[in-house]
Each structure stands twice: as structure tokens, then as C-alpha cells.
């Protein structure tokens, strides 16, 4: 019996020891797997894996910068265009011929469904653009034949043809000079697909796979997609730049706001999109809340065709009478930036010398008296009925403006219609003043100046102020025709100066996009415009993290970001 008991003890000790050893091994391995992977809690599923086909930001986030590359990219930190798949480019003096010289060592994704046999060349570029531009192209009608970005920007009229000069040189022939053309090519929509893959799919009679089983040149390749559940990306090992530091990127699709917050707090995701409960996140030392000002603007516009807003003094008066700070506090909960001009401060064309709009009811009253409205007047203010990124609550905003203007004896009636009716009636010019906004589709400042306030935009229906100023139009046209960036900057400063004088609209706020992450995740993900980018992301392991908590400059930088937010 005693011997038996001895045996029992031995067995127990042995098994305990081996278990300990096993768990030790597992701990080590576990660290390395999670260390080499990043989980991103996304807010929704992508509709397709080809950003040419959509304008939804959820799809852009999941595809553009992860799976694909463009000819050139826009670097938001230094506000310049930089080479990507094209190592350099050349614009003729008349601005009508643009030649791109492609990189010679770019490899497409090697996936379960496609093995590339050659490097990227001119054929791929021509295929990608012609698919979207040429209605006769064999791949044009695959997946519906709708290319909203290319259509909205009028690219099929602008681009006359794309010429292949040799395997690594292509030339765009434009119908007229357009300075925002390069910026358009740098957007998330102008991605490069593989022509070789398309050929293979044509042979397999599975053309639509080109948008569901994507092949690109981007830093990640698609491994697995489960609708409504997850997207798994692997690192593209032969990426033409330095390969990504993480091996696996997983999009955990969690549409519920609280679900994303829970997963973030429980460390089930490393990064969470559009987090709620900002205070809760900032209270955790191991989490960071980041924000980036997106390229958008929320504004109060006037119909300059209707009295009393045909008088510029009245418009100026109102611009002095509105307290933007209270608006920001009440409507955006302090999570936006006061707009001082049409374009946000992150745009390269922003004029740093522009004086801040002051809040001065006394001056406003004097201006009103000068304009002949000493007794005040009654006006209609149309508030947009739905929540938009640039204006989360227009009715509240209208109410605050109402109380602001009461102080200079202006009585405000707040009016709201259903969204489609609202836009339709705005087009017909039935309004006196209105609250609306604009989200830019690409980084070029022209995307603010032209569509909101130019004379031609009245026709297109995007300029609801009906303000048409020949001098302003001439300036923004000149700005488009020059290639000199400093010259353009000067032109836009002039245009802004006209706007400050004329006040066809009062810019109110530029909003931010939020994201939360664990503080062991390094590298920029958010950009002021366009989709997120995981190329620079890396993960610190726990032991390193402890050291970096105190010394890392990134950590300090992020903290500064934080104080700006809350």
C-alpha cells in the first residue's frame, strides 16, 4: 500500500511538472503569435474588395491602403504628393500630358487563387484605369459598372487616353489642364489591379472574382473573409517597400458600439474604430484615444439672392454674433475644431496668417445698424434633419444660433424637412439661411473652394448660397492651372480673404475621426483624409512595453493628442 502511494505521489509530481513545462512553452509561443498580429475592431463589413466601385468609408478602410497601392500617394504629414508605384512623374508645361515612370520590382500578391508570373507593368495600370473609364472594357460591367468616384470627378472626360510608351512608362493625355488631377490619382479610389489576374479569371470564366478575391500590390494580402464576422490579412512578403512588421492583421467586424468598447477594454482587440465613452478610455492608462481632423466643414450658409442676406453687412454682422465656442461645446461636445476658413488647418493650403473670427455682439449690432436693420428682422434658418459627420445635431445648433441672434434683435424661425426634401428645396433656392456641411473626397483644397462656392456649382446644385463672384472664380481657376504649390497657396489665401469679406457662409467646425488603441500598438493608422492604413503598425511585447511607457516619444506625443481631445 505504501509503495502504491509512493507511486501515486511520483505520478502526480511528474504530471504537475510536465504541465508546468507545457504551459511555459505555451506562454512563450502565445506571446509571439499575438505579438506578430493585430486585431482591429471594425464598425462594419465591406461591400466589396475593390474601392473603385464604392464611396463608403467602411470599405475604403478595409481595402484601399491594405490591399492596394496607387501610382502616387498623398502624404498628409508633409502635405505633399509622393511616389508610390510610379517612382517619378513628369507634367508637360501645358499640363495636358502626364508621364509616369513605374517601379520595376513591384510584385503582386501571391495567394491561394493566383500566382503572379511577372512584375507590375504598364498593362496593369492601363487595365485598372480603363476598367473604370471605358464603358466598352470587358471588365467595366463586371460588378455593376458603377464607378462613383471616377464619374463624380468627370475623369472619363478629363482623361482622353492612356498611352503605353514602354513596359514601365505610361502617359495620360488630358483634354484640359487640371491641377487637382494628381491629387485625384492619389486618392483611395485610384488603385492598381493586376491585368494578369484578370486574364486568368477571364479564362476561368469567373470575372466577378476580381472584386471578391482581390489581388493587389499592397502591404497585406487577403487570406480569409467571413461575411459579417472577420477579415484576415497576411503580410505581403515581397512588398516593394519594407515588409510590414506584423504578420497578421484581423478585422473583427463588430457593428455594436458597446461591443467594440467591451472588446477594447477586455483586450480582445488592439484597435477599435469610432469608440464611444471617451472618458472611460482616457481613464485607462494602457489605452490611448486618438483623433484626427478629417477634411470636412460644417457651416451656416446664406441665400444671397434673398433679402436681407443680399447685403454683405448683414452677413458680416451675423458672423460676429455667433459664438462658435458654445456651438462646439454643445453640439460637438468639444470634439471638433473651430472652423476659421473653408479648409481645415490640416490642409496644405490653409492660411496660417488668417486672423481668428471674433465673437463680438456689439460690433454685430453696429454693422446691422449700418446696414439699415437697427430694429432687427425675422429670418428662417433651415437645419439639416439627419446626423452627418460634420454636424451631429443641427437642431441643437440652430437653437443656440437662435439665442445668439436674439441678442442683436434678429428673430430666428427654425425649419427642418426630411433629408431628400431638404436638399431638393435648397436646390430650388426656397431658403433664407441653412446649416449644412461638406466632406472632401480628396485632399486637394479645390475640393472645398469649387464645389461649395463657385458660380458653376450653382448649376450643379452644390452651391446653395447662390453666391457668384467673378473675381473669386477667376482666382480658384488660376489656382488649378498652376503647378507651383506656393503660388497655389497664395491664390487660395486670396480666395479665403474674399470669403472673409463677403461671408456667403460662416464656417463653424471641422470634425474629428476617433480611434482607440492599446498603448503597445505603434505607428500611425489614421489619416486626415481617406482610409486608415496599417502599413506602419507594429506591436511591442509586454516586457518592452514597460520600458517604453516612460521613455517612448510616441507615447508622449499621443498624450498630447489626448489632451487636445478631452
Amino acid at each position: 500500500m505504501a509503495a502504491l502511494q509512493m507511486n501515486y505521489y511520483k505520478i502526480i509530481t511528474l504530471s504537475l511538472l510536465s504541465l508546468l513545462l507545457l504551459t511555459a512553452c505555451i506562454e512563450e509561443g502565445k506571446l509571439s503569435l499575438s505579438e506578430r498580429s493585430v486585431i482591429y475592431c471594425a464598425e462594419g463589413s465591406p461591400e466589396t474588395f475593390n474601392p473603385q466601385l464604392i464611396t463608403s468609408s467602411t470599405t475604403i478602410d478595409a481595402t484601399s491602403n491594405q490591399l492596394y497601392d496607387r501610382l502616387i500617394t498623398y502624404q498628409s504629414d508633409v502635405n505633399t504628393l509622393s511616389p508610390a508605384l510610379a517612382k517619378s512623374w513628369h507634367v508637360t508645361p501645358d499640363g495636358k500630358k502626364i508621364t509616369f515612370y513605374l517601379r520595376k520590382n513591384v510584385v503582386f500578391h501571391h495567394t491561394d487563387f493566383f500566382t503572379p508570373s511577372r512584375f507590375l507593368n504598364a498593362d496593369d495600370v492601363i487595365f485598372s484605369f480603363n476598367r473604370a473609364l471605358d464603358a466598352e472594357h470587358p471588365y467595366h460591367i463586371v460588378s455593376g459598372g458603377n464607378y462613383p468616384f471616377f464619374q463624380n470627378m468627370g475623369l472619363s472626360d478629363l482623361i482622353e487616353n492612356i498611352e503605353k510608351i514602354n513596359d514601365y512608362t505610361i502617359r495620360f493625355h488630358l483634354s484640359h489642364a487640371d491641377n487637382s488631377f494628381l491629387h485625384k490619382l492619389a486618392t483611395d479610389f485610384a488603385i492598381i489591379l493586376s491585368a494578369e489576374y484578370a486574364e486568368q479569371l477571364t479564362k476561368q470564366k469567373a470575372k466577378s472574382d476580381i472584386d471578391t478575391h482581390p489581388v493587389g500590390t499592397g502591404p497585406f494580402k487577403l487570406k480569409e473573409y467571413r461575411v459579417g464576422s472577420l477579415i484576415r490579412f497576411y503580410r505581403h512578403e515581397q512588398y516593394w517597400r519594407e515588409p510590414v512588421k506584423i504578420e497578421q492583421l484581423v478585422f473583427d467586424i463588430t457593428p455594436s458600439n458597446t461591443g467594440r468598447l467591451t472588446k477594447l477594454l477586455a483586450k480582445e482587440c488592439d484597435i477599435a474604430a469610432y469608440p464611444i465613452a471617451h472618458e472611460e478610455i482616457t481613464q485607462h492608462n494602457d489605452l490611448l484615444l486618438e483623433a484626427v481632423t478629417s477634411l470636412n466643414v460644417g457651416y451656416l450658409g446664406f441665400n444671397v439672392n434673398k433679402a436681407p442676406f443680399d447685403n454683405k453687412l448683414v452677413r458680416q454682422a451675423i458672423s460676429y454674433a455667433i459664438n462658435k465656442e458654445t456651438l462646439l461645446e454643445a453640439v460637438y461636445q468639444g470634439k471638433a475644431e473651430i472652423a476659421n476658413s473653408l479648409i481645415p488647418e490640416t490642409s496644405w493650403a490653409f492660411d496660417q496668417t488668417l486672423p481668428k473670427q471674433e465673437f463680438n455682439p456689439a460690433l454685430a449690432k453696429t454693422l446691422l445698424t449700418l446696414a439699415g436693420y437697427a430694429e432687427g428682422f425675422t429670418m428662417d434658418l433651415w437645419a439639416l434633419p439627419i446626423q452627418r459627420p460634420y454636424n451631429p445635431n443641427a437642431i441643437t445648433m440652430a437653437k443656440i444660433i437662435q439665442s445668439n441672434l436674439k441678442r442683436i434683435d434678429i428673430k430666428v424661425n427654425i425649419i427642418s424637412y426630411q433629408w431628400s426634401t431638404f436638399l431638393q428645396r435648397l436646390k430650388q433656392g426656397k431658403h433664407q439661411s441653412f446649416l449644412l456641411g461638406w466632406s472632401a473626397q480628396h485632399a486637394d483644397p479645390n475640393n472645398f473652394f469649387s464645389p461649395i462656392l463657385s458660380c458653376s456649382a450653382i448649376q450643379a446644385g452644390t452651391n446653395s448660397t447662390f453666391w457668384c463672384n467673378q473675381k473669386y472664380d477667376a482666382i480658384i481657376k488660376k489656382a488649378l492651372q498652376t503647378t507651383n504649390i506656393n503660388q497655389r497657396k497664395k491664390y487660395y489665401a486670396q480666395a479665403t480673404a474674399i470669403l472673409t469679406q463677403e461671408v456667403p457662409l460662416i464656417p463653424i467646425a471641422h470634425t474629428k475621426r476617433f480611434q482607440a488603441r492599446g498603448n503597445n500598438i505603434m505607428g500611425n493608422i489614421l489619416a486626415p483624409f481617406g482610409g486608415i492604413n496599417f502599413y506602419q503598425v507594429s506591436k511591442l511585447n509586454l516586457t518592452k512595453k514597460k520600458k517604453l511607457d516612460t521613455h517612448s516619444p510616441q507615447r508622449i506625443l499621443s498624450n498630447i493628442n489626448n489632451t487636445g481631445v478631452n
Binding site: 502565445k30 484576415r232 477586455a266 483586450k267
Partner: protein, 343 residues
């Protein structure tokens, strides 16, 4: 035993007939066209509709229609999901194993906690321990499962960070679904991270399984307690005591075995309760099982999915009932001769 088996099988057949009759009649009660409710083919072309009407014999009387419906079900054709337009049978085959896995683990937890606690309460009958166990079990029984689930996430996932709050396994592990039962798939997989995946899956299942197990565990406590008290009062226990067996010998050799048999009969009954709880819990813990799928189908008014999901789920619960009856009969020869065995 043969008679017993035959009796159970005939009971199964008749119950299934009744169930299919119910789900068949649901097609007429749900809003919309019957043939579309039956097949879920919301995007069918006129030609396809004619084919479907032919397949389901809608031009003949209701009896033939029912027979046509039955033959489709027996062939495994449950129609298409109205929401996703994919085969309901494949969806169920993909989802049901996750629910079975969760329910089984919860059942095991409930039994391993509930039964011993019940025995302890019975042995310490009418003493402080008994009262304590009874009142705790009362408390456990009264807590609503959705509230308990949220509380568990708040405490163990968010505050303490011990267990994950959602899903079956960390998304980092790629496990090929073979059987659908996560743990078996992990053991079958070729992944170099097999053991990490196994531990991760265990961590994921603990919280939801414990939440589900709470209510059944309290029932097991009371069942075990009553059955043990009954057994302890029987004459053969008294005889054993009179023969001079120690208390431990009496409990471990005689009392536990005999009272366990009575509990096993109730396991099947508890399983239905457990699956209901699992459905709610799956929603809270984002568990990819049939319960969450069914509740989502209700939100999306996916009638075909609701109807087929209910049919499959009730069929599954019934099979579990019959299996426990068999186990009971195998363990307890007295039950085999019971002429009124249909419960």
C-alpha cells in the same frame, strides 16, 4: 430492452410528426405567400416559382402538400434563408455544433457543481450547511441569465481581464472547421499553435458556460438533495448501517450510486432549459451558435429560418431526451419494464 427501444422510437416518430405538422402550419400563419415562407426563395423568377409550387404540390390538397413538405425535410432540404439566401441546412450544420459544445460544457459544469453540493446538503440535512446551500441555490435560480451574463463580462472580462468577453476563440487562430466542435477541430488541426488555441478556446468557453450553468446547477442541487435524502431513508441503507459499515462506506458505495440514477432521468429534462438559456447567452457573448442565429432571424423576420430552426432545435432536444432515457434504462434495470415509460 428491445420493447423499450421500439417504444421510444415510435414515440420519437409521432412527436416528430406533430412537430413537422406545427412547423408546416406556421407557413400558413406567417404573413406573406406560403410557398415563399416554405422555401425562402424571395428572389425567385416566375419559372422558378412554378417549379417550386410543383415540388411542394401546392395545387393539391393540404395532405399532399404536407407529405411533399415532409419529403423535402427528410431529404435535408429546409429551404433558403430569406435574409442571406443561403441553404438553411448548411447554416444549421455550421452553427449547431457550437451550441451543442457550449450546452454540453455548461451541463457538465452544472452537474459537477450542483450534484456534489446537493449531496452535501442532504448529508448535512437541516443543518447550517444545508440552509446555506439551499439559499445560495435559490439566489442562483432567481438571477436572470442576461443580467448575469453582462455582470460576468463586466467583472471578469473588463475589470479583472481574466476571460475574454466574446466569441469562441481568438480570431488570430485559424482552425479549419471539420466537425464544428471547436475543441475536436483544434486537436485535429495541423496548426503549430494547437495548444495555445486549445487554451484560448477553453478561456473563451468558461464564462458563457458558467453563466448558463448557474440555473441548471441550482436545480441539480435540489434534485440531488431530495434524491439523497430519500435514499438515506431507505431500508437497505439502514440495513447497511446496522451491519456496521462506516458512514463513508455507506455514502460512497450505496447512497451516491442509487441517488445518481434518479438524477440522470432529469438531465434530459434540464437540457431543454439549458438550450433556452444558451440562446440568450449566445447573444450576449457573441457565440456563433444556433441560438444567436435564431434570435437574429426573428429580428430580420426570416420566417423560413425561424421555422426550420425551431424544428431542428426541438428535434435535437428530443433526441437528447431519448438518449438520457436510454442511459437511464441501461443503468437502472427497473425502468426497462416500466409500461408507462412515455414521458
Amino acid at each position: 430492452m428491445l420493447v423499450f427501444t421500439l417504444r421510444r422510437l415510435s414515440l420519437f416518430t409521432f412527436t416528430m410528426l406533430l412537430l413537422t405538422l406545427l412547423s408546416f402550419s406556421l407557413n400558413f400563419l406567417f404573413p406573406g405567400e406560403t410557398i415563399i415562407n416554405l422555401t425562402g426563395a424571395i428572389n425567385a423568377t416566375p419559372n422558378q416559382l412554378i417549379e417550386l409550387n410543383d415540388a411542394y404540390q401546392t395545387h393539391r390538397n393540404i395532405f399532399w402538400q404536407y407529405l411533399a413538405y415532409l419529403s423535402h425535410i427528410i431529404n435535408g432540404d429546409l429551404g433558403l434563408s430569406m435574409a442571406s439566401q443561403s441553404e438553411i441546412s448548411t447554416e444549421i450544420v455550421n452553427l449547431l455544433p457550437a451550441t451543442i459544445e457550449l450546452s454540453l460544457v455548461a451541463l457538465l459544469i452544472a452537474m459537477f457543481i450542483g450534484v456534489p453540493l446537493g449531496f452535501i446538503a442532504a448529508i448535512k440535512h437541516n443543518k447550517f450547511t444545508d440552509n446555506l446551500i439551499l439559499s445560495v441555490s435559490m439566489l442562483g435560480y432567481s438571477i436572470p441569465v442576461f443580467w448575469l451574463g453582462l455582470l460576468a463580462i463586466l467583472t471578469f472580462s473588463i475589470s479583472l481581464g481574466w476571460f475574454p468577453s466574446a466569441g469562441q476563440i481568438s480570431l488570430l487562430f485559424e482552425i479549419e472547421p471539420v466537425t464544428g466542435i471547436q475543441f475536436i477541430d483544434i486537436l485535429l488541426s495541423q496548426s503549430p499553435y494547437k495548444w495555445q488555441a486549445f487554451i484560448d478556446a477553453t478561456a473563451h468557453i468558461i464564462l458563457p458556460a458558467c453563466v448558463i450553468a448557474v440555473a441548471p446547477a441550482t436545480i441539480f442541487i435540489r434534485l440531488a438533495r431530495t434524491s439523497m435524502i430519500e435514499v438515506l431513508e431507505t431500508s437497505y441503507i439502514r440495513a447497511a448501517r446496522a451491519k456496521g459499515l462506516t458512514f463513508q462506506q455507506i455514502i460512497f458505495r450505496h447512497a451516491i450510486r442509487n441517488s445518481l440514477i434518479k438524477i440522470i432521468r432529469h438531465v434530459g429534462l434540464q437540457f431543454a432549459n439549458l438550450v433556452t438559456l444558451a440562446m440568450v447567452t449566445e447573444v450576449i457573448f457573441s457565440w456563433p451558435g444556433i441560438g444567436r442565429w435564431l434570435i437574429e432571424s426573428i429580428y430580420q423576420r426570416d420566417y423560413t429560418a425561424i421555422e426550420s430552426g425551431l424544428l431542428v432545435l426541438s428535434c435535437f432536444i428530443f433526441i437528447v431526451h431519448i438518449l438520457t432515457d436510454f442511459i437511464y434504462a441501461a443503468l437502472n434495470p427497473l425502468a426497462r419494464g416500466n409500461k408507462h415509460g412515455a414521458r
